[in-house]
Amino acid sequence: MFFSRSQARTFDQLVKPHLRGLYRFAHRLTGNPADAEDLVQDVMLKLYPRTRELEAVQDLRPWLNRVLYRQFVDRDRKGKRRQEQSVTDTGDIENHQAFLDRYPGEGLGPLADMERGRAGRMVQEALAELPPDQRALLIMYDVEGWEQQAIAEVLEVAPGTIKSRLHRCRQKLREQLARRMEP
């Protein structure tokens, strides 16, 4: 959006190396290429007036991922207008043992030897059913393999809480999967 040619050049130099990585993250979050490109463009439009701030950021990649993640959650919230349990809500972390004891292992059993294509679709559908912040956490940790510290920066939460949050998200996914395998 703004402004002088030198600022435009600076902005391009700063963000261009990260655009494809942002797109891939956006694609994982949104589930389709069109929404992914829209999301990246929204983020860039938002950041252009903040070029000077970008220049001061030491490690731009996690910073940009954080902005994209926030934009994704905001868009989703506005689009669906729904109230969901948030992964950033510390909730019932203390009750971790009881949570683990609810592991729906029996329900998941058929997944072990289900035909690959069908099982893959089921997992994607279950992932898509999760609230956006829970989906994002699973994508960052279980799919992209990011370090807990990097994930904590994106989610803006304490690194020490990532494991508990991850347990909750995985549990949600297992429940979604188990539901799909009910006769």
Partner: protein, 213 residues
């Protein structure tokens, strides 16, 4: 030896590979003896594997160019911007000559706003262009844009007043604003430029017609 109930809380850690050696051995020993639990662990490993394998495409060719051109106001990357919509008659493109004290030089000798050239108009988002000529390079110039109620900036929905700290090059500086029409109406876009204790205010009409108008 670990029983089935004791194993359950360890399944996740076992699949993550973060159990200590004693627990890992105990789990492995139980799994070797218990096919039910082995099946649970296999299912856990499988959904993780399938999740990791979920396909993600590379963006189409020209992706970076599309994004950056859209940001700079020279292109419309998104499909929803590329569908013509009848009706919106908002002044699509403005060139405003500005001067501020001795630093800003009016374009073409005219200091007032001048409506020109269009359209960069698509869907209900249009690009308004403001051009600022500066007699010298300036740092830390504050620019504030105030919008009438019937429009918003596409990238700042709901915000009526947006401020930036910017640097100006000597010569022409361009500001491209993707403006979304919310409802038909008339109003004024106000641009305030402040450098140090000097300020200039410029106003430009923003008019949008009704659907089909």
């Amino acid at each position: 030896m670990m029983d089935c109930e004791q194993l359950i809380p360890h399944i996740e850690g076992y699949c993550d590979g973060r159990l200590d050696e004693a627990d890992r051995r105990a789990v492995a020993a139980h799994l070797a003896e218990c096919s039910d639990c082995a099946r649970k662990v296999k299912a856990e490993q499988r959904w993780r594997e399938l999740l990791r394998e979920s396909p993600v495409s590379e963006p189409g060719s020209g992706f970076e160019t599309r994004i950056l051109e859209a940001v700079h106001g020279g292109g419309d990357a998104r499909r929803r911007w590329s569908t013509p919509v009848a009706g919106a008659a908002m002044a699509a493109c403005l060139v405003v000559g500005l001067f501020l004290g001795t630093w800003f030089i009016p374009r073409g000798g005219d200091s007032g706003p001048e409506t020109v050239v269009g359209p960069v108009s698509e869907n209900n988002v249009q690009t308004m262009r403001l051009a600022f000529d500066s007699g010298e390079a300036l740092e830390n110039v504050n620019l504030t844009i105030e919008l009438p109620p019937h429009v918003e900036l596409a990238s700042f929905p709901g915000e009526r007043r947006i401020s930036w700290e910017v640097d100006l090059d000597k010569g022409e500086n361009l500001l491209a604003l993707p403006v979304r029409t919310l409802f038909p109406g008339e109003g004024e876009l106000v641009a305030r430029i402040r450098h140090g204790d000097r300020e200039r205010v410029f106003r430009a009409p923003v008019t949008s017609g009704g659907e089909g108008g």
